[in-house]
């Protein structure tokens, strides 16, 4: 009966499905301009991996400069040539260019486009039981806008005046005036163009994710039976749709200021021996617009990571995620608060101090749902039967970094303390650990976990272990010592950290950090080799290698476009019936009907 009703509601979609059964797609249609969400997911992943690798090399270059300022380095000269590293010494303008593009790529291209793009595309249709996204065409466009945007950002590294170099937050007037810094010429134009296209990509993707989760859930897949990955990706998409347009607006206004002589962000400027005519604008307006996106953005980064962490911990501990409903509630409250805390980036901007007080209050509130999440992850491990697959190691690492990095946040949220360390390495350490590392580690975990679904092969676990330990140790090795630089008052974005005598004593920290950074980046080679080797030559996986409950493991190992060869699966229970007493196996797939008198934990927990 249920199946019948479902067939009727999906008639239109079935017609489309039949269309795809003609196996006459050319290579280009199948792999390049593909409308299959699984291919698009891989496209996002590959593009993001390339961009992240480039950004990681940039970080090594500026770390070499910070550890051994003034020393000639052949690595530097090899990558940057005579133009930007004459005699192997990094040019200060290029230093700022590298940190700017490193930040931009990591935040937008890896952890927004890469993380959401890969896992929302792969998991939403497969885990809600749909044949594809609501609009496969929009989905394809979303990737290609992302691709063009990545391309433009990458190209901007190679132009004569250098890439955008006002920091990833591109505060005006620095980002508007080429007289102030060469990177604010063509480099900044390309940056703004790239980000505008990125916003288009993000909106096309995000709207699609939301509609798919709301409308295309299979029969029986109530909201309270959704895996937490889907909840996380849904909330992420809502955040993106509500906040990215504001960045788009901010970028357009900046393009006006740069090109047409308007003064949205400029006022009373005297530069290069000239008084500019613009008056009446305010850089603080830009800060508000930027951080209205910028803060939700960090939750756009961390939220999908929460989803992956919940799923992977639960499966590998062979236990239901602890407090399923509390996990949803905490994500919803974090998402809501994300929109009313942006001012905590602006305590020193000169905005009204009363406004600062309000933002202190709302920001510290976020610690409560965050604490709930951390404790719930730990409790999920408690009395589990934990399989140490590589993905589990990565997400335990992510929980650890989320705790360590989150805790220093309570200092930065407090305006009275923030002013003492604002803009120093303390902040750099804080956000890299809590947002960067947690999200990157969770993303690695996600790749190891869903690799069999993407390529039908298993990744090599031994290499996974080496990759994890080297990455994890180096990650803390890089960012833990940075707190001390910050507490000594060393500002970020300084070309050298030894300009002021007392900081010279801390030069050892800069060297420690750089060595860990180099080893950490090199150890990613293990991951890349493992990834491509396993993709082509790896051992074939079973259909459900991790003995998981969710729907993606009920399809053929690597499904064709349409996902399920027969009718769509019907869902009878939540996704977390692991080690349920009285069951034959330690997992009960969502498609298994409930027994008489059995409790649906998703409804009641």
């Amino acid at each position: 009966m249920e199946t019948h009703a479902h067939e009727i509601t999906h008639t239109a979609e079935h017609t489309e499905h039949h269309h795809h059964e003609h196996p006459k797609l050319s290579f280009i249609e199948k792999y390049v301009f593909s409308m299959d969400h699984k291919i698009i997911s891989k496209q996002f992943l590959f593009t993001a991996m390339f961009m992240a690798f480039a950004a990681a090399i940039m970080s090594v270059l500026f770390r070499i400069q910070l550890a051994w300022p003034g020393h000639s380095s052949s690595v530097m000269h090899y990558f940057l040539g005579d133009r930007w590293a004459k005699g192997g010494i990094l040019d200060p303008n290029m230093y700022l260019g590298l940190i700017t593009i490193h930040g931009t790529i990591m935040v937008f291209f890896l952890l927004t486009g890469g993380l959401s793009g890969t896992f929302a595309n792969l998991l939403i249709p497969l885990q809600v039981g749909a044949r594809d996204m609501a609009s496969p065409m929009m989905n394809m466009l979303s990737y290609w806008f992302f691709f063009i945007s990545s391309l433009i950002m990458f190209i901007s590294l190679f132009i004569e005046t250098g890439p955008a170099s006002a920091g990833w937050t591109i505060y005006p007037p620095l980002s508007v005036l080429p007289q102030a810094i060469p990177g604010s010429g063509l480099g900044m134009t390309l940056w703004l163009t790239s980000i505008a296209l990125f916003v288009v990509s993000s909106l096309l993707g995000g709207l699609n994710y939301i509609v798919t989760v709301i409308n295309l859930r299979t029969v029986g897949m109530k909201m309270t039976r959704l895996p937490l990955t889907i909840w996380a990706l849904l909330i992420t998409a809502v955040l993106g749709v509500l906040s990215f347009p504001v960045l788009f607006g901010a970028a357009i206004l900046m393009i006006f200021d740069r090109t047409f002589g308007t003064s949205f962000y400029l006022s009373d400027i005297y530069i290069g021996g000239q008084a500019l005519s613009q008056t009446g604008g305010s850089p603080i307006l830009f800060e508000h617009l930027f951080w209205f996106l910028g803060h939700p953005e960090v939750y756009i980064v961390i939220m999908p990571a929460f989803g992956l962490m919940s799923e992977i911990i639960s499966i590998n501990a062979r236990k239901p995620i602890f407090g399923y409903r509390a996990m949803i509630g905490s994500m919803l409250s974090i998402a809501f608060l994300a929109f009313i805390v942006w001012g905590h980036h602006m305590f020193v901007s000169g905005m009204n101090p009363f406004l600062g007080s309000v933002f202190v209050f709302t920001t510290l509130l976020i610690a409560i749902p965050s604490a709930v999440k951390a404790f719930n992850y730990i409790t999920t491990l408690w009395k589990g039967s934990i399989s140490f697959n590589p993905q589990l190691l990565f997400v335990v690492g992510a929980v650890s970094t989320f705790i360590s990095g989150g805790l220093t946040g309570i200092i930065l949220a407090d305006s009275a303390l923030d002013v003492a360390v604002h803009g120093t390495y303390f902040v750099v350490a804080h956000f890299h650990i809590v947002m960067g590392l947690s999200a990157v580690l969770a993303m690695f975990g996600g790749v190891y976990h869903w690799f069999p679904k993407m390529f039908g092969k298993l990744m090599n676990k031994k290499m996974g272990y080496w990759h994890f330990w080297l990455t994890f140790i180096c990650a803390y090795g890089v960012f833990l010592p940075m707190h001390f630089l910050g507490l000594a008052g060393v500002p970020r974005r300084y070309y050298t950290n030894d300009a002021f005598a007392p900081w010279a004593k801390l030069q050892d920290i800069n060297i420690i950090v750089t060595i860990f950074a180099i080893v950490g980046v090199l150890s990613q080679i293990i991951f890349f080799v493992n990834f491509f080797y396993s993709m082509f030559k790896g051992t074939k996986s079973d259909e459900n290698p991790w003995r998981a409950n969710t729907l993606e493991w009920t399809t053929p190992l690597v499904p064709e476009h349409g996902n399920w060869p027969g009718p769509l699966p019907v869902v009878h229970r939540w996704a977390y019936d692991y080690s349920k007493p009285g069951k034959e196996h330690d997992f009960v797939p969502q498609t298994v009907p409930m027994e008489e008198g059995e409790l649906d934990e998703g409804e009641h927990s």
Partner: protein
């Protein structure tokens, strides 16, 4: 020659590394297939090893943190030297206590659970435990209480920092540009005269002051170092003329941006003279410093200013030795540029 050699040996090293990993993977794959073991899914042996790895990591992590603290604690900022800074240090300490307690306990539990509940022959069944409202309530309420304390303490200090300064506060202006700071003291009238960016002339009028305004006449413009009197409140107006700059006074635990087109303000009372601090730290070269903390261009990293806190007598003597920006000849002449 050596450059080329280095270049090719780096290529070779990276290439060999990739080949090495590739070959290791092949050997491992073939041998597991022969032994009938799974190459991608953890078995009990892996679980035992990685479980122990969790605890070893935890110990190493804590040891590294403690080593960092011992090794570098004397190189951090010295105790605060302003009225608000002292309260700020206390609040910092309260935060650190909370942070370290929570950090050590939760991190230890996290990694210990990883070890303790690893899957092996003795631990094949997990405990089905989907929720517990009481527990969840506890870890919602306890953090809330701790946060309430921090919020109340923090906001009261913030209120003090951003309140109106006293009427006797010494008024001065910090004027930032690429890549230095200029200081203007308000002079006898303790009033900063008006300025206009269109009047700026690098040689004769770097701040764009109105020559015809009486409030400007006694203003003293100084470069190179800023002097402040001890135990007297200072009220600083911050401006910038080209791009945004940051005005960060780490020893006084305060900071604000200098923004083109608007004024921002800060006030505090220095509590220790430079001489006292040098004695206290046993370092005859120690100086307070004002640094730019908002990226402002290629010279950003070199944009700082020495700050000297003097006894009131020394301060008055120092300031008295400086001449006001405008001589008598300038006074009363109506500035034509400003009228345009």
């Amino acid at each position: 020659m050596s450059h080329v050699l280095i270049k090719y040996s780096v290529y070779l090293a990276v290439f060999l590394l990739i080949v090495l990993i590739y070959q290791l993977m092949r050997i491992y794959q073939l041998s597991s297939e022969l032994k009938g073991k799974n190459i991608g899914i953890a078995d009990d042996k892996d679980n035992n090893r990685q479980g122990v790895g969790m605890v070893l990591f935890m110990l190493g992590f804590f040891a590294f943190l403690i080593w960092l603290i011992i090794r570098f604690k004397h190189d951090l900022l010295p105790p605060a030297v302003s009225d608000v800074g002292k309260t700020s240090d206390n609040l910092f300490m309260l935060n650190w206590v909370i942070i370290f307690v929570v950090f050590f306990i939760t991190t230890a539990i996290l990694f210990y659970f990883g070890y303790k509940y690893r899957r092996n022959e003795n631990n094949k069944t997990a405990y089905f435990y989907p929720h517990n409202d009481k527990l969840e309530l506890i870890w919602t309420v306890v953090p809330s209480i701790a946060l309430a304390v921090i919020i109340i303490y923090g906001l009261s200090l913030w209120g003090k920092m951003t309140s109106k300064p006293g009427p006797d506060a010494l008024k001065l202006q910090i004027y930032a540009k690429q890549f230095d700071f200029t200081i203007r003291y308000a002079g006898k009238d303790n009033k900063l005269g008006p300025t206009n960016y269109k009047l700026i002339d690098d040689a004769s009028n770097p701040l764009g002051m109105y020559k015809d305004s009486a409030a400007c006449w006694d203003d003293v413009v100084v470069r190179g170092e800023m002097h402040l009197p001890v135990n007297r409140e200072v009220y600083i107006q911050c401006n910038a003329r080209d791009v945004m700059h940051g005005m960060y006074l780490p020893h006084f635990r305060t900071q604000i941006n200098c923004v083109p087109g608007m004024s921002t303000f800060m006030h505090f009372t220095p509590t220790e003279t430079t001489a006292e601090m040098r004695k206290q730290l046993n370092d005859s070269t120690f100086d307070y410093i004002l640094i730019c903390n908002r990226v402002c261009g290629a010279g950003h990293y070199n944009m700082f200013l020495k700050v000297v806190v003097d006894s009131p007598d020394e301060f008055n003597k120092w300031l008295g030795s400086k001449k006001p920006q405008f001589g008598d000849a300038d006074k009363g002449t109506v500035n034509q540029t400003a009228m345009k």
